[in-house]
Structure formats: structure tokens, C-alpha cells
């Protein structure tokens, strides 16, 4: 059975792989970037079963076969609208008052 840690063939998953090791990267990069490998993540349908971290091959939406380490099963999205920033919440209230005052004055 597939779950958070394990995929079966046909499951929609995400794999991670290294495109370039630090020594193989472009020259002229800032030091912080040059010290890191260039990594990539892609989603696709698992072609075999595996556990998180295992090497698994996937078939992507374009039909490519990509090998990588299983990084997520049923990869979703968790980004949000955030919470109201205190510096922002009063803007609408204040500006509506200003526009109303300007119009009242202009109409005098």
C-alpha cells in the first residue's frame, strides 16, 4: 500500500536529483552558490515501488523518464495567503476616508 513514505508503480510522486556537482558548475558564480550542487525536482508517475530516499524512475507529464531519489509521495502545495500584516491592514480604511474628504471638499 502506498502512503506518505512509500510509493507504488503508477503513483504521482516527486523525485530529487543532482544536475551538477559543485566542481562541475559554471565559473564565475558567487561563492555561496558555487559551494552548492545544482539540484532539481520533478513530478511524475512512479515506474516502480520505493521508499522516501530510494532511487526511483518516474514518467513525467511530457513522457520523459527521469531517475532520482523519491522526495515526496502525492506532492501537494501548501503556500497560503498569509496573515494580515499590521503595516498593511489600515491602508484601505485610511485611503477611503481621504478620497471621501477630497470629494466632499471638491464638491463644495
Amino acid at each position: 500500500m502506498s502512503d506518505e513514505f512509500r510509493c507504488l508503480p503508477g503513483d504521482w510522486v516527486e523525485v530529487e536529483y543532482v544536475l551538477l556537482q559543485p566542481a562541475d558548475r559554471a565559473t564565475g558564480l558567487p561563492e555561496d552558490t558555487a559551494a552548492q550542487p545544482l539540484r532539481a525536482w520533478v513530478k511524475g508517475f512512479a515506474l516502480a515501488d520505493g521508499m522516501i530516499g530510494d532511487e526511483v524512475e518516474v514518467e513525467t507529464m511530457s513522457g520523459r523518464h527521469v531517475r532520482g531519489h523519491l522526495s515526496a509521495t502525492s506532492p501537494g502545495y501548501t503556500h497560503t495567503f498569509g496573515t494580515p500584516p499590521p503595516e498593511i491592514v489600515g491602508i484601505g480604511r485610511d485611503l477611503r476616508v481621504r478620497v471621501a474628504e477630497y470629494r466632499a471638499k471638491a464638491g463644495e
Partner: protein, 470 residues
């Protein structure tokens, strides 16, 4: 032995020649000059034909809205008699949520016409969604290469949302960590798949934006009796400025073109640590300045987006000013849109304040908003990265260290970029890329004058000054 990176980069010319759907070599004149108009017209489509392609693709014909409340807000603090009318072209109403649909629709049309089975684009912006959406309609495969994460696997909520929407449209998204080698991987994918490179900077894509300029001229004439006096364009790679201005000109409009970017000076665009210290992933000076002064840094041999040809003024605004205006637009105009597209809106408020009341300022795009791609989400993320968010005078903000939200709309003040400096920088780059010891010909001088919208005399003076200083 060459690394895999070096080996792929060495094959760049042959890979791109097949993948671009056209041969750029036939337009080359010299190491500096090329036939720009010849290249732009090589696809053979008239503006009307492009508009027809776009109508069939469900793109364009977006609403033009007058922002009466925002105009009155600006007039409440402008000098008497000042405060131009402000309008916006609601490009978020395009299928995939931005003006980028105009670019993508023409590239996808070409891909179908030339028999490509799929398309590939390298973009972290709205262009990915546009290509993915148009490819889905056309039944083509689509791969989007996206710089998404820093080395901790942390991504800007804005970019993560753009991954999501591409995947929603059925694209394969290759999410990568920070680095310019994104281009190398795109080449590998182009080579292994045989797909079309749907570059942002191809003549097909940039021609697709001309319809936006044309609509602005027609719709403003219908609404106000004349084309707009000013159009403000959010500026990054230069396509938006170039295509919009060309479209306005085709309709005979003598509109002043004002480009606008978020000021991110001091942040390194290829730095792993700086990557998540900015809240804007496009429409900023980190693209706007280098692409204006050296357009051919793009993923095509010659960039169709050449903004200095068309830019009459270039303004910068701060991140805090754009977030403020994004919220103001929601609450005053009932228009909730993505922050990046509102860069030009912040500049427009500053510009309109100084213009006479009968001037007309059009902000030529909006972009969709949603989870992640929202000013609240982006401010929360900035805070979590250790950026100081405060209320105050936005002029005091430091990109990468602080975001200052204005306390009052009067504090929204765009900064004028010295175009003369950009022109000089362009000439320096052109000479450097032509190779050591290359002496520009009279034809090169004329080309550089056209490419910067200056005169041959100005260019000659700059060339002389640069060689004297060298």
C-alpha cells in the same frame, strides 16, 4: 576533459539553431549590428494576423478600466491642477492570468505550424503559466525550467505558486536551485526532446505583445478621444516595454513610454543567499538594468526585446511602495491583483501626481493573484527570512535588509534612472562583446544609435570617451 556542463555549452549553437525555429545568422551584419526589423518581421505575420491568432487562442481583448478612486486619491495631495487620470489594462483577465499569454500564443502557434511535438521555456515568471496553458490548448507537451529554491529547498511563495499553476495546466516543471546553469539544463532538454525553445525573447513572443499596445491606443481613443499621453510598463527583460511601444507606434500613437522596475540594487541575482531576500522575482532592476544595457544576454542569439529603443523614461520604486499600492488597489478599486504586476502602478501614482489633470496615464498590465502570489504572503515570507518590515518612509528601505511600507500615499515617490548612464553602459557592453580591438564601423554607430534611441553623434562621443578611458 570537458565537464558535462562545458560539453553541452559547446554545442549551444547547433542545439539552439534547431530549437528556435529560425536561423538568426541571416540577420547578422557585424559583431555589433544586425537587421532588427528584418528579424522582427521574419515570421511573416502582420499585426492583424497576430491579433487573429490570439483571438483564436482566447488571448487579448482585456478590459481597460479607469481608476477614478485612485486618481482622486492622487489629486488629494497633488499640486492644484495636477493629478493625471489613471487607467489600467486588466491583463490578469487573460486565460493564464497575465499579458504573457500574448507572447506564448504566438510561440505556440509557430510550434504547431512547424510541427514541433512540444515546447520548452526557462522562466520563473508568469510566462511559464502562459506557455503551459497555450500548450495544453494546442495539444503540445510542455516543459518549464524554473529557478525555484535556494539550497535549503526553500522557495518564494510567489514562485512556488507559479510551479503549481504550470503543473495545473499539465506542464512538466523542472524545479531547480539557484544558478544560471538553468540555461544549460534547458539546452540538454531541448537536445533530448527535439522541442521548440519558446524563448521569452524570440521575435514571435515579442511581436505577440504588440497587440497590447494597439489595444491601448484604440481603447483609450474610444474612451477619451486620444491615445494615452503616458503608458507605464513594468520592466524586466524588456519584452513588455518593446512590444507595447511597438504596438502603440503601429497605431500612430505618440505616447511617452515610461518603464518601471522594483529597486533591488545591491542584491546578486545568482546568489544562493540573496535569492530569498527579495520579495519580487521579476519586474525588478536585477533584470531590468542588465537586459536594457545588454539585451543579447538572453537565451537567443539576438534578443527581440530591446527596451532602450523605446523607453522615454525609466523609474524605480521600492518593494514597500508596490505592496502599499497593491493593497490600495484592492480596497479602493475592487481589484485584487498580484504585486509584481503592480510595479508600474506604484510608478504611475508618482508620475500622475506631477502631470496635469488632463494627462492620461495607463498602467498596461495586471497579473493574477492567489495563494503565495499575494502581498500578504510575500510580506510574511520576507519576515520569516529575517527582513525587517516597518512603517515609514520607503526611501529609507534597503533591498535585502528591509521593506518599508509608506505611512501615507504622499511618500510614494519613484526614482528617475539616468538613461544617459544606461546608454553608455550599453555601448561599453556592445564594444566588449564585439571583441578586443574591434573598431565600430559607421553602420555599427547607426545601429547603436537606433538601439538606444539616441543619435550617431552621441554614440560616437561615447565610443571616443570609452576608448580614451580604456
Amino acid at each position: 576533459m570537458a565537464t558535462r556542463y562545458e560539453a553541452v555549452m559547446a554545442r549551444k549553437g547547433e542545439i539552439m539553431k534547431r530549437a528556435l525555429g529560425m536561423d538568426y545568422a541571416e540577420f547578422e551584419w557585424s559583431p555589433i549590428a544586425f537587421d532588427y526589423e528584418g528579424m522582427m518581421g521574419a515570421h511573416g505575420y502582420t499585426l492583424e494576423q497576430i491579433r487573429g491568432i490570439q483571438r483564436a487562442a482566447g488571448v487579448g481583448g482585456t478590459p481597460l478600466l479607469e481608476l477614478r478612486n485612485l486618481t482622486d486619491l492622487v489629486r488629494s495631495y497633488a499640486e492644484p491642477g495636477c493629478g493625471a487620470r489613471i487607467f489600467v489594462k486588466d491583463e490578469a483577465a487573460n486565460m493564464a492570468g497575465s499579458f504573457k499569454d500574448r507572447r506564448a500564443s504566438v510561440s505556440i502557434h509557430l510550434a504547431v505550424e512547424k510541427g514541433f511535438a512540444g515546447v520548452i521555456a526557462a522562466t520563473s515568471g508568469n510566462y511559464g503559466a502562459a506557455v503551459a496553458s497555450q500548450a495544453a490548448r494546442a495539444g503540445l507537451a510542455c516543459i518549464i525550467c524554473q529557478e525555484t529554491f535556494d539550497s535549503r529547498h526553500v522557495g518564494q511563495p510567489e514562485i512556488v505558486e507559479k510551479s503549481r499553476i504550470c503543473e495545473a495546466f499539465g506542464a512538466e516543471v523542472v524545479q531547480m536551485t539557484v544558478g544560471p546553469e538553468l540555461f544549460f539544463h534547458m539546452l540538454e532538454l531541448l537536445e533530448s526532446t527535439g522541442y521548440l525553445s519558446a524563448s521569452l525573447y524570440s521575435p514571435f513572443g515579442v511581436s505577440g505583445i504588440e497587440s497590447l499596445g494597439a489595444e491601448l491606443a484604440e481603447e483609450m481613443t474610444a474612451l477619451t478621444g486620444a491615445p494615452p499621453t503616458h503608458v507605464v510598463v513594468t520592466h524586466a527583460g524588456g519584452g513588455n516595454t518593446t512590444g507595447t511601444a511597438r504596438g502603440l507606434r503601429r497605431l500612430g500613437a505618440r505616447t511617452e513610454i515610461v518603464s518601471a522596475s522594483v529597486d533591488l540594487s545591491g542584491l546578486h541575482m545568482a546568489s544562493d543567499t540573496d535569492f530569498n531576500r527579495k520579495s519580487f522575482t521579476t519586474g525588478h532592476t536585477g533584470f531590468g538594468v542588465p537586459f536594457a544595457t545588454w539585451p543579447d544576454r538572453a537565451d537567443v542569439p539576438r534578443n527581440a526585446a530591446r527596451s532602450l529603443r523605446y523607453m522615454d523614461r525609466y523609474l524605480t520604486v521600492s518593494q514597500g511602495e508596490v505592496f502599499y499600492v497593491t493593497e490600495a488597489l484592492c480596497k479602493l478599486e475592487g481589484l485584487e491583483r498580484g504585486p509584481s504586476g503592480n510595479t508600474a502602478m506604484a510608478a504611475a501614482m508618482s508620475l500622475a501626481r506631477d502631470l496635469p489633470g488632463d494627462a492620461t496615464v495607463v498602467v498596461q498590465e495586471t497579473e493574477y493573484t492567489g495563494a503565495g502570489k499575494h502581498h500578504w504572503a510575500q510580506l510574511a515570507f520576507a519576515r520569516a527570512q529575517g527582513i525587517e518590515v516597518t512603517l515609514g518612509d520607503p526611501a529609507d528601505s534597503v533591498p535585502g535588509a528591509s521593506i518599508v511600507i509608506p505611512e501615507r500615499p504622499e511618500q510614494i515617490r519613484a526614482t528617475e534612472v539616468d538613461l544617459g548612464k544606461l546608454h553608455r553602459s550599453y555601448v561599453r557592453n556592445a564594444l566588449r562583446h564585439a571583441g578586443e580591438g574591434y573598431a565600430p564601423t559607421p553602420e555599427d554607430i547607426v545601429f547603436m544609435a537606433e538601439d538606444t534611441n539616441t543619435s550617431p553623434a552621441t554614440i560616437e562621443e561615447m565610443v571616443a570617451g570609452l576608448s580614451a578611458g580604456a
